[in-house]
């Protein structure tokens, strides 16, 4: 995904509607894209005027909004609209655990995240005022999708006027192969770590060669932890504003019981998350 022409937002008349919409409008304008609002449910005059009221308070959209009113099962309706309208990006709001500063993805949004054919932006803190995006963290996994993901994050950082991108390479314990038992194996492990780090850096650098990233400072950081989970932890410590991840290859029922990769992030969102498909 390196073009964003059409952005879809689900409209549910909840207290979060206003910040969600404001955020969506802002993103649309930044990408010069068309906003499509989908409401699953009955179309009433009150809902329509409420919506207009909110939109009139927001920034002026560069391209007019298209609203779709349709009744049915929310997940299905939205998924169909995504295909019909050839949506590039789906914006979803996250939920917050009561009194805990922790965010997670609700059941509908989770289904959408798994099934949607377009990229997904999960917002944990939509706000009415613009919060500048200052730091984007991207995964640099060894994966076919990674190049696309890094390209997308560079695109995002350009449009969101973010100057700092960190590409995180997660080095898992199994890759290390040497188990640390005593001084000798520790020395060996340290050397191998350094080698792995250089190898990963080189791989990412090769990807970056083909990407125009002028005016953006791109850094590389290798972290040691569990794949998929630790990058969220890192984003939280570094207080990144956006975490960009590859889409999972395929997620079965087992993956939900024994969560890995993206499932960890969904159960505890560290920040806004963009899943690139």
């Amino acid at each position: 995904m390196q073009k964003i022409h059409k952005i879809l937002i689900g409209i549910a008349f909840s207290p979060n509607l206003k910040p969600n919409l404001f955020e969506a409008v802002r993103i649309c304008n930044m990408f010069n894209a068309e906003l499509i609002g989908v409401h699953v449910g009955e179309k009433t005059i009150k809902k329509e005027t409420d919506l207009q009221q909110i939109l009139s308070e927001a920034e002026v959209l560069k391209k007019p909004i298209k609203t779709v009113w349709q009744e049915g099962e929310p997940v299905k309706v939205i998924l169909n609209t995504v295909i019909e309208e050839q949506i590039d990006l789906l914006i979803l709001g996250a939920l917050q655990k009561e009194n805990l500063l922790k965010y997670y993805v609700g059941s509908i949004a989770r289904k959408l995240t798994r099934k949607a054919s377009c990229s997904i932006l999960l917002l944990i803190k939509p706000s009415i005022e613009r919060q500048a995006c200052k730091h984007i963290v991207v995964n640099g996994l060894k994966d076919d999708k990674t190049e696309e993901t890094i390209r997308t994050s560079v695109l995002f950082s350009k449009h969101l006027m973010c100057k700092k991108v960190t590409i995180v390479e997660e080095i898992s314990q199994s890759e290390l192969q040497v188990k640390v038992d005593d001084d000798k194996s520790l020395r060996k492990a340290t050397i191998i770590k350094e080698r792995l780090k250089n190898r990963e850096d080189q791989r990412v650098k090769n990807i970056l060669k083909g990407i125009d990233s002028e005016n953006i400072s791109i850094q590389m950081q290798s972290i040691f932890g569990t794949r998929g989970y630790s990058i969220g932890h890192y984003a939280k410590i570094k207080r990144a504003d956006l975490l960009v991840m590859n889409a999972p290859t395929n997620v079965g029922i087992l993956d939900r019981i024994f969560p890995h990769d993206i499932e960890y992030i969904l159960s505890e969102l560290p920040t806004d998350v963009l899943i690139v498909k």
Binding site: Q96, L101, I124, K125, S127, Q131, A132, K134, H135, K163, K164, Q173, K179, V180, D181, D182, D183, S185, L186, R187, A189, T190, K193, S217, Q221, S222, I223, F224, G225, T226, Y229, S230, H233, Y234, K236, I237, R239, Y264
Partner: protein
């Protein structure tokens, strides 16, 4: 070349290891006999374990200066196994138990290969302490009767304890001279054990206390035999029985009961205790090693397992790593594994050469050695130590101890774990914190400016400690490591204790290990190992207990002649004037260090409001300047995130210093004044020091590096940087 050198050192160190091995064998001989007797097994089985252990583990083990042999912890378990499996027939029970020992050895080998040797890491430390104390009481209760010459005391540990006054009374009133003399030797032996360390005579100290007991009691026998007209008053059943032909009379394990429940439970207990005792000893001995080597625990467990299997087949007890004999080894300058090997060889020699003499040792003398060991394990000082850490730890300790004494070891340790967990839930008033997060990988490690940074999330307790441990073990101890608990809601005593151990090891090996993020937490007590629960924001403890970091800060504040205030109400008036705090709300300032106009502090502030609110803690330096400054920000070129509020102003390049302009991003409103302010000297200073983010208002400077709490070392660097900067600016 390297290998040659190692060989050379090895050969060069043989004499001292030979000597050290000899001294250790002097202790191992009486202890091996005594531990076997206390376990209800033939005395020779303890010696077999020590010999096999010394040879096998020294050849294939993973530690350097440890000594292996029969262990204290196993006495109670093996005794109960022999009693239960034998159903009254002690010798048959011993054969069944040998089978259990062989199987537990195989289990240990498997655990070693699965890298699960560190079973002990899964248990809360107070529960382990309680269990060890229970073992101590078990040994004490049984052996005190033997020490007084009474072999017939029977019953549970509690019953045996209750019988002690009666036992003493019987001993005083007895008209059985055999029993009286045995008891007398026992009491004299005990007093040798107790007062040995207090007598600081070089010649007396040449022989270890247990060997004195052996020498004296054998000497007594020969006195009666050669000089005295009366016969040796102690009856033969109160003397050690050794088989006549030691080399050919090996007992062989009986595997008949392998499928029975009581057999399996014996195997589990033996394996559990063997693993815990060995692990604790290996860890403790590593701290003593003058060459600061790190033992390969899993390799050692595998070697111990193999040694146990062999020992079991030859009729010997379990082989574990033992702390007391290992410390003697280190004290006598044992420097490599050959000391363990020589100790085994000396034992073989003793057994072959002095079997006749050894048969003259009264059981009561050996029992005295064990009474002393048992007392040491269960000493009231331990109780006090645990209480100092926190009353909840005392509860765990006592509950584990009582349950272990009244039921069995396995039940005891399970109850200990359960109680610890329940207490953690009660303290946090939150079950979900544990249930939801227990399986999550909660530890992240990465290197940052050459330092290892480890962040722990959610909670950190004995339940998930291995995750943290596996990361920490990968850090070379010569490096600098920072462990950050800021994202943790709860840290328990076991983890705090282990953090302290790491910190000691790093310090010993020339590295640096620091724990941060606990300063706002509420400790369970004044002890440095007390568990800590992170307090909700805004509740500043007015009179709290300082964390280790705070104590260090206090110490360096004295060194640097700064005044220190840990819990301060101070809201720095000038802080909100800085651009950095325009969009951030300051909650509180703590750990304030001041020296005339330089102030270093931890500040807690929040970004955003309501659901977008994030709380951040960071260490910063504020300098109050006397001369007026132009407003500017100075940053590493490339880090744009701090300077949003200045956007629109370009990077001010100073032509005379292209390198400075390339590395730093300087911006501000009044370009002319800023150019004038940045003198050559100031630029040189910035170029030659660590790059911080620096912001200036007209009367002050704000200096910070990362947006997190700084370690004590970083604080020192920051203070030094600030003092030098201030000097230069004041010259301008």
């Amino acid at each position: 070349m390297n290998k040659k050198n190692t060989l050379k050192t090895f050969i060069g160190e043989i004499p001292r290891n030979l000597f050290s091995g000899f001294v250790v064998s002097l202790i191992a001989l009486p202890l091996g006999l005594g531990l076997a007797l206390a376990s209800g097994a033939p005395p020779i089985s303890g010696i077999i374990a020590a010999i096999v252990g010394g040879i096998v583990v020294s050849l294939i083990g993973g530690s350097k200066v440890t000594i292996t042999g029969p262990g204290n912890g196993l006495v109670v378990v093996i005794l109960s196994a022999i009693t239960v499996l034998g159903n009254g027939d002690m010798y048959q029970g011993y054969l069944y138990t040998l089978a259990a020992i062989v199987i537990s050895g195989i289990l240990l080998i498997i655990l070693g290969f699965l890298r699960m040797g560190a079973l002990g890491d899964f248990f809360p430390s107070s529960a382990i302490q309680g269990m060890l104390a229970a073992i101590g009481i078990g040994i004490f209760a049984k052996q005190i009767h033997v020490m007084l010459g009474n072999l017939d005391a029977k019953g549970s540990i509690v019953q045996l304890l209750v019988q002690i006054p009666e036992g003493i009374f019987n001993f005083v009133k007895t008209d059985n001279s055999s029993m009286f003399y045995a008891g007398l030797i026992g009491i004299i032996s005990l007093s040798i054990m107790v007062f040995y360390s207090k007598i600081r005579n070089r010649y007396f100290q040449l022989i270890p206390a247990p060997m004195w007991i052996v020498v004296l009691s054998v000497g007594l026998y020969y006195y009666f035999d050669v000089f005295s007209a009366t016969d040796y008053p102690i009856d033969k059943n109160l003397l050690i029985a050794l088989p006549n032909d030691i080399l050919s009379n090996f007992a062989f394990p009986d595997f008949e009961k392998v499928y029975q429940l009581e057999f399996i439970s014996a195997v589990i207990s033996i394996t559990l205790i063997a693993s815990i005792e060995s692990l604790l000893s290996i860890k403790a001995v590593d701290k003593l090693d003058p060459l600061k080597r790190r033992s390969n625990v899993n390799k050692d467990i595998r070697a111990l397992g193999l040694a146990t299997v062999i020992s079991g087949f030859l009729g010997g007890l379990n082989v574990v790593t033992v702390i007391a004999r290992s410390s003697v080894n280190v004290n006598n300058k044992g420097s490599n594994r050959s000391a363990n090997f020589f100790h085994a060889l000396f034992l073989v020699a003793f057994i072959l050469l002095f079997a006749t003499e050894l048969r003259k040792i009264p059981l009561s003398a050996l029992a005295a050695i064990l009474v002393f060991t048992g007392y040491k394990l269960a000493a009231p000082e331990n109780l006090k130590k645990v209480f100092n850490i926190g009353s909840e730890q005392l509860l765990i300790f006592i509950a584990t101890l009582l349950v272990t004494i009244s039921t069995s070891l396995i039940t005891g340790i399970l109850v200990g774990i359960l109680i610890t967990f329940i207490i953690h839930i009660i303290i946090n008033k939150n079950v979900l914190l544990f249930i939801k997060n227990i399986l999550k990988p909660n530890v992240l490690m990465f290197t940052e400016d050459g330092k290892y940074y480890v962040s722990v999330k959610n909670f950190s307790s004995f339940l998930n400690y291995t995750k943290l441990k596996s990361k920490l073990d990968q850090i070379p101890e010569t490096e600098e490591a920072i462990v950050d608990f800021t994202l943790c809601d709860f840290v328990d005593h076991s983890v705090m204790e282990n953090m302290n151990n790491y910190s000691e090891t790093f310090e010993r090996k020339g590295g640096h290990f620091e724990v941060i993020g606990l300063d706002d937490s509420k400790p369970g007590s004044e002890h440095p190992f007390a568990l800590r629960k992170i307090l909700p924001k805004h509740r500043v403890p007015k009179k709290g207990v300082l964390t280790k970091r705070q104590k260090f800060i206090q110490k360096i504040s004295e060194e640097m002649q700064y005044s220190y205030e840990a819990f301060s109400d101070l809201e720095l008036e000038e802080l909100p004037n800085f651009g950095y705090f325009k969009t951030r709300k300051i909650d509180k300032v703590s750990n304030v260090l001041t020296n005339n106009d330089c102030t270093i502090f931890d500040v807690q502030f929040s970004e955003g409001e309501m659901i977008a609110k994030q709380v951040i803690k960071a260490t910063m330096l504020h300098i109050h300047t006397k001369n007026k400054l132009p407003k500017f920000t100075l940053d590493k070129e490339g880090v744009f995130e701090y300077i949003l509020h200045f956007s629109g102003y370009k990077d001010i390049d100073i032509d005379a210093h292209p390198d400075f302009s390339k590395r730093f991003y300087l911006s501000g409103k009044n370009e002319e004044k800023i150019r004038a302010f940045f003198t050559d000297e100031l630029i040189l200073f910035f170029e030659s020091n660590k790059q911080y983010h620096i912001e200036a208002t007209s009367v002050g400077l704000l200096v910070l590096s990362n947006e997190r709490l700084a370690s004590v070392k970083e604080i020192k660097a920051l203070a030094y940087f600030g003092a030098s900067l201030k000097k230069i600016i004041e010259k301008c």
